[in-house]
Symmetry: C2
Subunit: 330 residues, 2 copies
DNA sequence: CGAAAAAGGTTAATCGATTAAACATAGGCA
DNA sequence: TGCCTATGTTTAATCGATTAACCTTTTTCG
């Protein structure tokens, strides 16, 4: 800016006004044009850091997910970045790897960089960190997961209803011994899936049996699945349907029962949360609960922007419905 | 910082020195401790923007890929972000959607934010933009793709060799009428794949036939695949093997020939670039050329950091070998 | 004609840090 | 005693913008 001012022979203030289209009616048109031309000629690029420092608006948001390489999150990330871009925002991102500590560290880094807001898929134990954000009045929106005890914005699936509908569908189809394999975690959204499962059974007069539900840790799904599935299939009489709590679990489970020689859906019906691309060409395409990822991303950024720009303090707690996509496995 | 200085009764300069562990041997230890304590007490967070503005180092890098929701890139992104984090860098990202214009816009935005360097998967027509970066002496590394005419850093697959080895393998297995389906594009890395394919055929005394290679546009693969595959299968005598230029193409092709009732590999062998998760449970798991994604990400960031920090002007042009993973489809 | 209004610009403080240079006090030593 | 060196801290300029407040000059008009 200094260079431009010098070259044109004016003050930097004027250059700033012109380049930001401010006080347009107070500035000589020819001079303004000359300034603009010179800016172009010198290939002037505004230093966004200086701008942000002065205006206390960084036009940056931070995105923290558990794993950006997970299609679920990378699909959301894609949307979020695009929508942010449309509103002149840039996105910083990081993977927390399901660690509340890492997540907090990322948030700290982002805060030091003065992000205007955060979109977070919180890990177990993130409550404290979120409370901290609230104290500092840093706008944020949770995605995918949330904490019912915390008054925060969130955009998530209506997990209870989704599981409920999935199980209802299985019951409608005549399956009665319906098991569930899910993740062992305190995360509310996964608990909801279990409650939905149990609720649907109860409403049809079937008492949920503890042996029918297997919870396995997030980290060692790969080794635990065979064991757990074997247990479910070892029950007498055998389970005739399984609801899977996530795409990872479905993938591993189907591969296992396929190796064992069970036929889907004759021996065992399968229905899962999330789309499982890896099972697309399985002889019995798997029925699943599709999450509206683009919509989640869009809403998340929209809610965040509303909060940031309009200083809108009203909470947005959005639960989206899953779409039950029926294929050959149920 | 001002608050800390005031509370302790010193100048902000001293606070800065202490908090950055500078001039340690010149500063009163007790006082230093008091400053540190007070900083903690006041929950002091350094404003990275101000810091960057002054030091002309933003500790930020920009990542531009064509589509972050593509597993290929999201896997690389995951690594890049982690490695960057380890070196105190934060990552901005954006998807260019294979548009050189969008890519240039993203780069501009990132440059205005004073990124210290860029990692780019360039689109067709990006040469100009890259030349601009060079003129401005902004460090960058290309990933996945590069331009042989441009003297830039890059980390990519040795596509010629990969295709060559893939075809050689097919020939070894006794296939002789080997077709190829690839993307229609000026991008060098994809051309290399075709050259590798042709090179391998020639070296075995088979003249590459133009009808054997089908190039389809990046955008309309979905609609073009059936047609193109039908053409290949309509040749007399029929093709007995296909090399696919990308995971997307393989996915669509396999689904199509499966629908047509062809048996793999009896009727047609299939070998593809990239891993194709969606075909994991296909009755004949697809052989593929695995790209070393983690290594690519790691190298990319390493080369970039070397360039940025050590002012290393030496070019790093890295071509990594693909791993031929043989399964049932060949 | 002369005062107020309009037009067109400039000054200078500020955002939150960093850092070279200056300053002040105390101790060492001939 | 007086000069030098260490030690410990402050001053003030700076990074690249923004913007309220102020200053000139020219018009307008009763």
């Amino acid at each position: 800016m200094k260079d431009i001012a010098q070259k044109v022979g004016v003050s930097t203030a004027l250059v700033s006004y012109v380049l930001n289209n401010q006080k347009v009616n107070r500035i000589n048109k020819e001079l303004a044009q000359k300034i603009k031309d010179t800016a172009k000629e010198l290939d002037y690029r505004p230093n966004q850091l200086a701008k942000s420092l002065k205006t206390a608006k960084s036009l940056t948001i931070g995105l923290i997910v558990s794993d950006i390489s997970n299609p679920f999150f990378s699909n959301i990330a894609r949307i979020i970045q695009e929508e942010a871009d449309n509103s002149k925002y840039t996105v910083l991102f990081g993977s927390s790897d399901e660690s509340a500590h890492k997540s907090a560290q990322l948030a700290d880094t982002f805060i030091n960089r003065q992000v205007d807001g955060l979109i977070i898929a919180p890990s177990e134990g993130a409550e404290e960190q979120l409370a901290y954000l609230q104290r500092r009045e840093i706008p944020f929106v949770l995605i995918d997961r949330y904490f019912p005890a915390l008054e925060t914005n969130y955009v998530a699936l209506d997990n209870y209803r989704a599981a409920y509908e999935a199980v209802s569908h299985l019951l409608d189809k005549g399956y009665t011994r319906i098991g569930m394999v899910t993740h062992e975690t305190g995360l509310f959204h996964l608990k909801e899936r279990r409650y939905g499962y149990e609720g649907a059974l109860k409403d049809r007069g079937i008492a949920p049996h503890p042996d029918w539900v297997k919870e396995i840790s997030l980290k060692q799904a790969k080794t635990a699945i065979p064991e757990v599935v074997d247990q479910l299939l070892g029950l007498v009489p055998r389970m005739d349907a399984l609801l899977m709590g996530s795409n990872t679990l479905a993938d591993l489970t189907v591969k296992h029962i396929h190796a064992l020689g069970y036929k889907v859906p004759k021996d065992l019906a399968i229905l899962t949360f999330d789309e499982v691309e890896s099972l697309d060409l399985f002889y019995a395409p798997i029925s699943y609960l599709r999450q509206p990822l683009p919509e989640m991303g869009r809403l998340a950024i929209q809610v965040l922007l509303d909060n940031m720009e309009k200083n809108n303090t009203q909470l947005s707690q959005i639960q989206l419905p899953a779409e039950l996509v029926l294929r050959a496995s149920t």
